[in-house]
């Protein structure tokens, strides 16, 4: 409602602006100030319109409806003294991605802004379901009873766009009490409503499993006030004499509240319409609940206080310190352990009672920074930094004496909460020397200590040492150069006794020993005034030298070139190309069992490597030509954004593929055989051509043609058609048949449930179909020079 009220107010103001007679809006100076109004209205029509199901990516974060549109509008008030800005701006009024903002400012005194946006987040348009997905009020995702069979899932109607609309409103006030003191207040509220595809497995990884639409009704409120003080150059002599040249300080308080209006989501089991439970639990889909309860994010809050201070001392020595402390709390009531009415007959059900009604969660974050820079001689800059960031979870321990496993089984094992507090300390020293005018070389040495108490996995902590060197040069009229080289070594420490079923040497990538180098070269070359060439080259090389399994290496190379050419003042041309290649290698072992003594537990024949190859290319070209000065302009852009990744998998032990390992059956060998994944690719080609005609200062016309072609091949989001699943019969022949239709895998048995003929895995797609779209937009601009700037990828 609050957002609606704000939107209504903005709309009324906009209408008022447009309704003011044109004669009174001319920029004739008046003693009472001047109103200026501007608007751009028009219409959009598709020449090639994708079907709704194919518009997923086209409208991922935006809205492109056909029909009339109010693209931009602004009402501006200029005071009689010409000092200050007061304006209301609207963009895409009425569309799902509309925005409006109000600005009132007097330079040097205050600046007040309120901005309202709507941001669609479209996740999937290809999902099907025979049930009632995402009845938001109750959060129930219901299926018919008896449960639909496989055919019903396949033929179910499309759900339509599954998306969440974000509605952020941000208000900011900056007020300068004096030249020295500034006050700032920010309030941001983000409303999120709609749906989000989420998944649930009812009995475990064997299924049944179903993706459903999780209803979203969330609000984030952030409020922050800050007071800053800057002394300015101090001239008065006092007890500090000339030592303290100037000082600044800021105190800030922030409160953030996240509220989730939905506390749980109930999801029907696609296989069972009647809850079932037995004393002896077989690993079968026939046992379990007919409806499961899933938690959603609990409401929470955070209170933060920060202090920042800085002093300027002799030799341009500046010392800065800051303290930031935050408390995060969460205390939503726990949900019941399970939702299987039949399981109430279990002997140990009483032990599933919870120890307390809610978590009483509390986390304290503290960050301390101290940094100093100094110029002992004119050309030398010395710097030092220290930063300590700690995450301390102060939530009282909790446990469940017995716990319900997937609403099917009660495990007679106690589960205890575990927190993962950590402290990260960064120290850094640096020196920079100006070799010549606008040419400097800098060296630095940084250390990062990451400590976890208690240690996790095989690591109590890591230390990374990071020396670096950089060269920056802009001394020539035709060359600007920035370059840097960084190399680092991260090593872990700690004593750890791994359990028998853990994998020896499987270091987690974010705490494993790592050798890293980074190279960055960036140059801007201007051989003549009309031409500017930007070049960039970056490499990254990470090696994980002592990880037996897990991440082994990660290499990346990025090259880019931009060219701007203005042969004559009325014509400008731009083109650019960027390419990124990433190769990373991971090693795994296939473990068919968790039994230590089994020959399958650690069988080298089952080891495999996975090489991920990314290639991303962005190419663009644009032209801006003024055909008739101040009258007719033509603009055109074309981009090709191409991204692929490919996972190449192979058993790397050198044994012939398919050869039987000792103690393994042919079926097990086949299951462990690694194969390449199909390539995943997406390509977006947006083209824009626009002709803008300015009839006079008051009227302008724009005719724009946009086209976008999008292709997408992602086997993970497409349905495989298994023509053979018999492991003994050789590799299964697989074809891909299109979007995941909501029915994959073998049908469950009919034991215990007469209608259990449905597949075990149901997906909503999470996919964006390929599309080809073309549309024409014609707009009329009134007072075009007063309009807000165009923004976003559908415009220039």
């Amino acid at each position: 409602m609050r957002q609606m009220s704000f939107a209504t107010a903005c709309v009324l103001a906009g209408v008022l602006a447009v309704a003011v007679p044109a004669t009174s809006q001319a920029q004739a100076k008046k003693t009472t100030g001047t109103f200026t109004a501007a608007a751009e209205i028009g219409a959009r029509a598709f020449t090639t319109e994708p079907a709704d199901i194919d518009k997923g990516k086209l409208e991922e974060y935006r809205s492109l409806p056909a029909g009339p549109l109010l693209e931009r509008a602004r009402l501006q008030y200029t005071p009689a003294d010409g000092y200050g800005t007061y304006q209301l701006t609207l963009r895409r009024l009425g569309a799902l991605d509309q925005s409006m903002w109000l600005q009132a400012s007097r330079p040097g005194l205050y600046n007040f802004n309120v901005r309202y946006d709507r941001i669609p987040h479209l996740y999937s348009s290809t999902g099907r379901s025979p049930g009632n997905e995402g009845a938001a009020a109750l959060g129930f995702n219901t299926l018919p009873s008896p449960r639909p069979d496989s055919t019903a899932w396949k033929n179910a109607p499309y759900i339509g766009n599954i998306r969440t609309i974000w509605t952020p409103i941000k208000a900011t006030l900056d007020y300068a009490f004096s030249e020295a003191a500034d006050f700032q207040a920010n309030f941001t509220t983000i409303g999120k409503k709609g749906g989000l595809p989420k998944s649930i497995s009812f009995n475990g990884s064997g299924g049944p499993q179903r993706e459903y639409v999780s209803p979203i009704d969330e609000t984030v409120n952030n409020f922050r006030v800050a007071q800053s003080y800057a002394s300015g150059p101090r001239t008065k002599a006092n007890f500090l004499g000339d030592i303290l040249k100037s000082y600044q300080g800021t105190v800030a308080l922030e409160y953030s509240k996240y509220n989730n209006a939905i506390t749980e989501v109930m999801v029907d089991n696609p296989a069972l319409s009647t809850a079932a439970w037995a004393t002896t639990m077989a690993s079968s889909t026939i046992w379990g609940t007919n409806t499961a309860r899933v938690s959603v994010a609990p409401s929470n809050s955070a209170s933060t206080m920060s202090f920042v201070g800085a002093v300027l001392l002799p030799f341009r020595t500046r010392v800065t310190g800051s303290l930031n402390t935050s408390v995060q709390e969460q205390n939503d009531a726990y949900l019941p352990q399970f939702n299987n009415s039949a399981m109430l007959a279990a002997p140990n059900v009483a032990l599933t009672a919870l120890q307390r009604p809610s978590l009483q969660g509390k986390v304290k974050l503290t960050t301390v920074n101290v940094s100093a820079t100094s110029h002992p001689i004119a050309r030398l800059t010395l710097g030092a930094k220290y930063r300590n960031h700690s995450y301390s979870n102060q939530t009282p321990p909790d446990s469940t004496l017995n716990w319900a496993r997937s609403d099917r089984q009660i495990d007679a094992t106690q589960q205890n909460t575990e927190w993962d507090p950590f402290t990260k300390v960064n120290t850094d020293v640096s020196a920079a020397y100006e070799l010549a005018r606008n040419a400097s070389v800098a060296v630095g040495y940084a250390v990062e200590d990451f400590t976890r108490e208690p240690g996790v996995f095989a690591v109590d902590g890591t230390r990374e040492k990071i020396p670096r060197v950089s060269l920056d040069y802009s001394g020539l009229s035709w060359l600007s150069l920035h370059s840097s080289y960084t190399t680092s070594q991260r090593r872990f420490w700690g004593h750890y006794t791994e359990s028998a079923i853990e994998v020896s040497g499987n270091r987690k990538f974010f705490m494993a020993n790592r050798d890293r180098t980074r190279t960055n070269v960036m140059a801007t070359i201007t051989p003549v005034d009309q031409v500017s060439v930007g070049l960039s080259f970056q490499t990254g090389d990470d090696k994980y030298p002592e990880s037996r399994f897990g991440m082994q290496s990660d290499k990346s190379t990025t090259t880019g070139v931009d060219i701007d050419w203005t042969p004559v003042s009325r014509l400008s041309l731009s083109a650019g190309y960027a390419r990124e290649n990433v190769d990373n290698v991971t090693l795994y072992r296939y473990r068919a069992v968790s039994t230590v003594s089994s020959p399958l537990f650690d069988n080298p024949l089952f080891y495999f490597s996975s090489t991920n190859k990314d290639a991303n290319t962005t190419t663009f070209a644009s032209v801006n030509a003024v055909l008739i000065p101040d009258k007719l302009t033509v603009k055109a852009t074309v981009s090709v954004i191409d991204g692929t990744f490919h996972l190449l998998n192979s058993n790397y032990n050198g044994s012939p593929d398919g050869a039987a390992a000792q103690g393994a059956t042919a079926a097990q060998i086949l299951t462990a055989k690694a194969e390449d994944w199909p390539e995943v690719s997406s390509k977006l080609t947006p083209v824009t051509l626009a002709v803008q005609y300015a009839a006079n200062a008051n009227w302008g016309f724009t005719f724009r043609y946009n086209s976008e072609t999008y292709t997408n091949h992602n086997w993970q989001q497409e349905a495989p058609q298994f023509t053979s699943t018999g492991l003994l019969g050789g590799p299964a022949a697989t074809t891909w048949t299109g979007n995941l239709p909501g029915n994959i895998g073998a049908a469950c048995t009919t034991v215990g449930n007469a209608t259990c003929a449905t597949g075990q895995y149901h997906f909503l797609g999470n996919n964006y179909n390929p599309y080809k779209a073309g549309w024409l937009t014609f707009t009329v601009s009134w007072h075009p020079s007063a309009l807000p700037h165009e923004l976003g990828r559908s415009t220039f």
């Binding site: 800065t320 978590l359 960050t367 716990w403 800098a442 880019g560 492991l727 997906f763």
Partner: protein, 307 residues
């Protein structure tokens, strides 16, 4: 060994202090305490700059209603005392501060002029920041003589384009399959980063990666009954916030991302996606098909993030 390390630190500190106490050369500004000519004198030759500048916020603050002694110097509040320049018919530029890229005025001196008024709030941490230490000039990103952008007086048409002028690979990432809505104009680089300096890593606005992400994604903040350690430590362990060609801006395709840490029996069959039992591991969201609340669960049975 530790003692040796501290000795080295101590000697480095003593050296730094000794260097700091050496007399510094008089700065160019100190030498340039020459006379001021007044803005009217500037207008005689540089008239074309006045009209567009007067429309800018800074133009209003300096030319229309200056509120400080410094601002009352008009053009010379930024460009330095120009009396000798005016009297020499434009020949003598020795006392002027120029902001062209090839200016003889050192970048630090140019920036110091801007900071004379803009040192408060966001710029308090400019000195010593990543950009300052790499000789980035205020005028590399901002133009003040005319309004080119809606706000911020940026050199390029948007924040993304301005930052992308140097950070090309980050700007290009915004076009990848999974990205945040910067290209659509709904976010800006400064939604997460403080380019004028920050006490935090990567010039973030929050005290950590997570605190920055939580400003919008507060539902991930918790604390939860069951924490997922890599999530608690950094969102960037799994996500590339600048864009990725994997779903949900993940750094690796699922289930490989999870398998970097979880070498468990039931997670491995995705070696061969054409094997029907791999469906639940390899397709759609991989591991997250079942472990759907992977960012943390407050459900009593959510220890494995399935509820």
């Amino acid at each position: 060994m530790h003692g040796m390390r501290y000795l080295r630190w101590l000697s480095a500190g003593v050296t730094a202090v000794t260097l700091a106490l050496l007399p510094a050369k008089a700065s160019a500004q100190q030498k340039a305490e020459a006379g001021y000519a007044g803005s009217a004198a500037c207008q005689d030759c540089h008239k074309e700059f006045f009209e567009p500048f007067a429309k800018t916020g800074m133009g209003q603050a300096i030319m229309a209603k200056p509120t400080s002694e410094h601002a009352k110097k008009g053009c010379e509040s930024c460009h330095g005392p120009a009396k000798s320049h005016a009297e020499s018919g434009g020949e003598d530029k020795s006392t002027l501060i120029s902001y062209r890229r090839t200016s003889k005025t050192p970048v630090a001196a140019r920036n110091a002029t801007c900071l004379a008024c803009h040192e408060k709030t966001a710029r308090t941490l400019w000195v010593g920041s990543a950009h300052e230490s790499r000789n980035v000039a205020c005028t590399d990103c901002h133009v003040v003589m005319h309004d080119k952008t809606e706000k911020g007086s940026l050199r390029q048409k948007s924040v993304l384009a301005t930052c992308g002028n140097c950070h090309k690979e980050k700007a290009a990432s915004m076009g990848k399959y999974a990205h945040m809505p910067l290209g659509e104009g709904k976010m800006e680089c400064i939604s997460c980063h403080a380019p004028h300096g920050s006490a935090n890593e990567k010039l973030l606005i929050g005290s950590s990666v997570n605190e920055t992400c939580f400003s919008c994604h507060a539902e991930k903040r918790g604390p939860f009954m069951w924490e997922h350690m890599p999530v608690t430590e950094s969102c960037a362990n799994c996500h590339d916030s600048h864009g990725s060609n994997k779903q949900r801006m993940l750094k690796q395709a699922l289930p490989r991302l999870c398998q970097q840490c979880h070498n468990t029996p039931h997670g491995q069959p995705a070696a061969r996606p054409s094997d029907a039992p791999s469906v639940r591991f390899a397709y759609n969201k991989g591991c997250v098909n079942c472990h759907s609340v992977i960012h943390g669960s407050n459900h009593p049975t959510g220890i494995f993030f399935t509820r």
